[in-house]
Subunit: 261 residues, 2 copies
């Protein structure tokens, strides 16, 4: 299939609300699996900020970023790459990339709304994001082949080649098939959730407040991805949701209940 | 050498100041290398709280912990183990173990002194501690044989067997000897420091304040360990101190300047 040329004009965006640029996947109903995008969507909803979603093909992210004047940042490796989510705010004519930077912008721009990145915590949140990579790496074996299957036809080869370069093996080769290897992969995922449970301790939300903040939305974004990958009724999702006294299922439900009007 | 029996009585401790229990190593001048102990010492100094150090043989930590009524916690693995540092506060007759728990106790007990764990940040700090394990693991190859050489005769075999069980190989076998393997180990360490540099960004201290807090003291504790292992004048220490525009040398100097009266 020949790639369609990418055409994009900022003037085509809604003039009265924030646009969230998210990566298009072939999954209903949201067409979205990016946990980083969910971290922004949950924040927009917690702040009750109206917004519009524009889905972008993965292969078009560099071209879009250049139109918006966005710089490449850290992707899922430390190599610079153009990433989404990004937002465009017509009221300030500003475009922002990176979920933490976006949420800090929203905190600054909407000071009356619930703050999601507390004063002075940016550095600790970045360390938290480093620690969260342990979950991403633990989930790769059981999740990445599902993710490949959800990419659009236009972006599938790009997804495959970038991820295989990162992982050093073919996607099909890291997916465990034998029961004992599947069990070992799940034991690795459980171990990371147990560590995360230790971060939360007695708290429902990580800052010990009665409402979630940025780091909770990052965790919920990961949970949403796993739930959508495996589907709500699956054994796999219900296993995760029930771990650590049901903490993860409850956290995601809280965030999604904010989300669904 | 026959192990001396461990004898310890709480009444033998100074009645007018906090006692910090630290692990005894054969290194001058501090007899101490534990980065977790440094994280408490820097806090005690930042708060100007007088204290007394009691050095404890590694093999005596379980017996001491039982006398003090302390529970085993997370060590450098997720397995429960008795650890130091711990403190005993004669004014409240309380003993506390674990550097984060100790520093939170000191925040609560000395509310007029500079706070080192900001409200609501305990969970994020725990995630930061998870991320810091990346540095510990990256440093093992070049540092653990040095650490073994600094253990006391009484505790050396215990140190060796517990660490080899964790690492799955003999300590001598994980230490790189060939120049290209040494270079690869250092490249791994540099990569972790680059990630940590990203946490700090434009900030001198991680909370963006003009004074260091708990997480900075944890980092400084790691730096102090590396400086003491390699010695101040070594190429290795000066390499680390100079990385990321000299950030790490400056951070350690700030903390040590608080420390040396």
């Amino acid at each position: 299939m020949a790639a369609e040329p990418f055409a994009f004009n900022i003037d085509s965006l809604p003039p009265d609300k924030i646009t969230l640029f998210d990566i298009r996947y072939d999954i209903e109903p949201h067409k979205s699996v990016s946990p980083w995008s969910w971290a922004v969507k949950y924040t927009l909803y917690a702040k009750k900020i109206p917004f519009h979603i524009k889905l972008v093909e993965m292969v078009d992210i560099p071209a879009l970023s250049k139109v918006l004047g966005l710089q490449p940042g850290e992707g899922f490796t430390a190599e610079p790459m153009y990433t989404l989510p990004a937002i465009y705010d017509p009221s300030t004519k500003k475009a922002i990339v990176d979920s933490l930077a976006i949420n800090m912008y929203l905190d600054a721009q909407y000071p009356e709304s619930p703050r999601v990145v507390a004063e002075g915590t940016k550095g600790l949140i970045k360390a938290f994001l480093t620690a969260m990579k342990n979950l991403d790496y633990a989930c790769f074996p059981v999740a990445i082949e599902i993710c490949l299957g959800l990419t659009t036809a236009k972006s599938r080869e790009h997804f495959r080649s970038t991820r295989e370069k990162l992982l050093g093996v073919k996607i099909e080769d890291i997916t465990p098939r034998e029961p004992e290897k599947v069990a070992a992969a799940w034991a690795g995922i459980k171990k990371v959730f147990d560590t995360m449970d230790g971060w939360y301790g007695d708290n429902t939300f990580i800052m010990g407040t009665d409402v979630p903040t940025h780091a909770d939305f990052v965790v919920a974004g990961r949970l949403m991805l796993l739930k959508e990958f495996f589907r709500e009724e699956s054994e796999e999702w219900n296993r995760i949701a029930g771990w650590n006294d049901g903490r993860w299922g409850k956290l995601l439900k809280y965030c999604n209940d904010m989300w669904v009007v």
